[in-house]
Symmetry: C2
């Protein structure tokens, strides 16, 4: 058995550690990235933590340009993995899927292919380029598992679990995501500042009454009492899983909400007002041309540098309302992840941890032939039970909380 | 008669317009700048406004590098002015003074030579490089007038007027500066963002009980009721005239205060926290090296673009407390300038207007032989009466307001 991991950023870091802890099942591990030194740093960390379970198995690095389909095919043929795990930025998804199709090897990723902020690439069209591989993958006899992080990912498994076990009829699905941790910096982003700031600026899309609704960012807000994180303000935002849930789980409203503290939003608004969040190039007095957003990336702390001192919890879950046995019901299915616990386990923070652990749980589902149908699948489409049974042993537990039945009090801002 | 103006930014714009309106006294006008097109744009504006009083006099442009003493000397010898007016950035002051000394022509500027933010160049040492020319100028038989804007400049004339006419003994001098105008932008600076942001970040220096006190920016605040601008928060800041007043007017405390709205300070603090106000280079992912502060300059509105829609008033003045005829007295001597009125007169806003009008008033004092002693002089050293009599006819009036006697309620922040 063998896997090939492509990508060596924060999520890749956790995926590699978790793969190593489970290499008795996953087999030899190859980590590939444009910058091979990033792979080697991860391998060093894995060895330093004694996270390689079966030390007779290989753990190696390779250099690859993930935009280059031919180079990817060549690498896949050399490594001969049973599964390619894409831990790269989402804009390489299509190239890697094409390479997997050509090399006839199964595929798994953790977020959607496209830029949710740009016209024609937003939530309603988000999965189109990857769903276009459905027939090709089925015909090639390989499996594609899309969006196997936490959100997207586990939150859809929670929704599928709710459909299967907790409800007869679904009314609303709200994905709730808050990071109540503290990295000790005045302002920093938990993952790539460029991706993060583009994501946050985009219009929100939610599905309601059989149609897409589009609203400017931070204009729909509600307060939610997160288990162990307290009452937090969350804002409607564009996110991958709204699109896939709309496809596979009938509901009257499906929406994604992310927590932002007032301080964070103040920094965000200032930076946006002065034009610092723009991806459009500006010319300096000396003629140098730069994109302001790339300058922001250079001056903010490297997200990976935040992990050592990070404290506190995240809470991500799926809030489902509907009918069970003729009675209205409201349920929140969630995980709390602890930044310090994540760091002790894999030398990274909980934001990356909550993405990497589900990816390896899904990979193990594939290797156990639980999730190995031929074609391309989102997490809602797959049997939630074995996944939710396994995930706590990989590092993330989950809970079901019954809530009082009540529609969320959504405040419209601006 | 003739003058040579060096510099064609916002202040240079107003100085040139005001010189043209008074060219029956000042004679031929030559405007020189590194970028000759900036001079030509000003000349076009002067002619468009019919601001050239005596149309038989010359109004010309020249290109010059104001860092290059030899080039400056050559230009002065060609133009043969009676006075060089330095409207360039303060870091060219010493080069232009040296050129004036070599060419034996009098000199006038509007702000201090050095960077008030950098170690060894702060308020206590601010005038050292320019005061070093005192003997050379006296020996060459030429006049140097330093800091002839509003602040520094007129506020020192106000202080000299208070000493001469309103007080027997001075206790405290507080220079008060607020811009209560509105340019309609969420955030913009009224002059070069780079200079502005460096100035605001620096520690404040004030003179108290015979010694310099140094405190971080925005940590000393008071609220002051500005005539026609209302009650405004002002913050202790490093500024040129604190140094020169300390030299020439004995007082127990001398301090400079600038108004900042809460919204402005919030932007400032956000930008500082994320590292955007740093002059130190950073390297982007693609290897490009940039100074964050220069990127800020490129993304903020060009200060000169603010002038057309600018409304509202500025208020700048000198608040003097002391003893007159054995009784305590508190007096505020001030000007209100109106952005719209300034724009109608010279197509620029009031911030530049309040610097340019005093410079030309001082130049006229020199040409009238009122302020033409041999050597180097700050504004406190010169007879305030003819200056204050003339200035209202050039564009800025002034008023004396008696205040209740009371020490300012200074709040210490952070």
């Amino acid at each position: 058995m063998a896997i090939l991991q492509i990508g060596a950023g924060g999520v890749g870091w956790v995926i590699a550690h978790k793969a190593a802890q489970n290499n008795d099942v996953l087999g030899d591990i190859t980590i590939a990235s444009r910058t091979v030194s990033k792979c080697e740093k991860i391998i060093e960390s894995i060895k330093g933590r004694n996270n390689l379970k079966d030390t007779t198995k290989k753990l190696e690095s390779r250099a690859v340009n993930a935009d280059d389909v031919d180079a990817l095919v060549a690498l896949i043929k050399e490594v001969q993995p049973d599964l390619v795990i894409n831990a790269g930025p989402p804009w390489v998804n299509v190239a890697i899927m094409e390479a997997c199709y050509q090399a006839k090897v199964s595929y798994l990723d953790t977020s959607v292919a496209v830029d949710l902020c740009s016209e024609g690439q937003q939530v309603p069209e988000a999965y189109d380029p990857q769903w276009a591989f459905r027939e090709k993958f089925a015909e090639a006899g390989i499996t594609g598992i899309l969006g196997a992080g936490f959100d997207p990912g586990v939150v859809s498994v929670f929704a599928a679990y709710a459909v299967k076990h907790l409800f007869d009829e679904i009314d609303t699905i709200d994905v709730m995501d808050v990071n109540a941790g503290d990295h000790g910096k005045k302002f920093a982003t938990n993952f790539d500042p460029e991706t993060n700031m583009l994501e946050i600026q985009g219009d929100s899309f939610y599905w309601e009454n059989q149609e897409w609704k589009q609203v400017p960012c931070h204009t729909r807000m509600l307060e939610f009492d997160f288990p162990n994180c307290g009452c937090q303000k969350v804002y409607s935002m564009a996110h991958d899983e709204v699109r896939s849930m709309k496809e596979f789980i009938p509901a009257n409203r499906i929406e994604f909400w992310m927590g932002f503290g007032d301080t964070y939003l103040n920094y965000f608004n200032c930076m946006r007002d002065i034009g610092l969040l723009s991806p459009n190039p500006v010319t300096l007095q000396d003629g140098t041309v730069v994109e302001p957003l790339k300058v922001l990336k250079a001056i903010l702390p490297d997200p990976t540098s935040l992990a050592p001192g990070y404290t506190g919890l995240t809470c991500i879950g799926t809030w489902v309302q509907g009918i069970k046995d003729g009675e209205p019901r409201s349920v929140f299915i969630y995980n709390n992840a602890d930044h310090e616990v994540a760091y002790k386990d894999v030398e990274h923070q909980a934001i990356s941890y909550t993405t990497g652990v589900p990816a390896i749980t899904a990979a193990l589902m594939y290797f156990r032939n639980e999730w190995s149908g031929k074609g391309v699948f989102n997490m809602e489409q797959l049997n939630p039970d074995p996944f939710l049974e396994l995930m706590p042993t990989i590092g993330l537990d989950w809970h079901v909380q019954e809530l009082p039945v009540a529609q969320p009090e959504i405040k419209i801002l601006k």
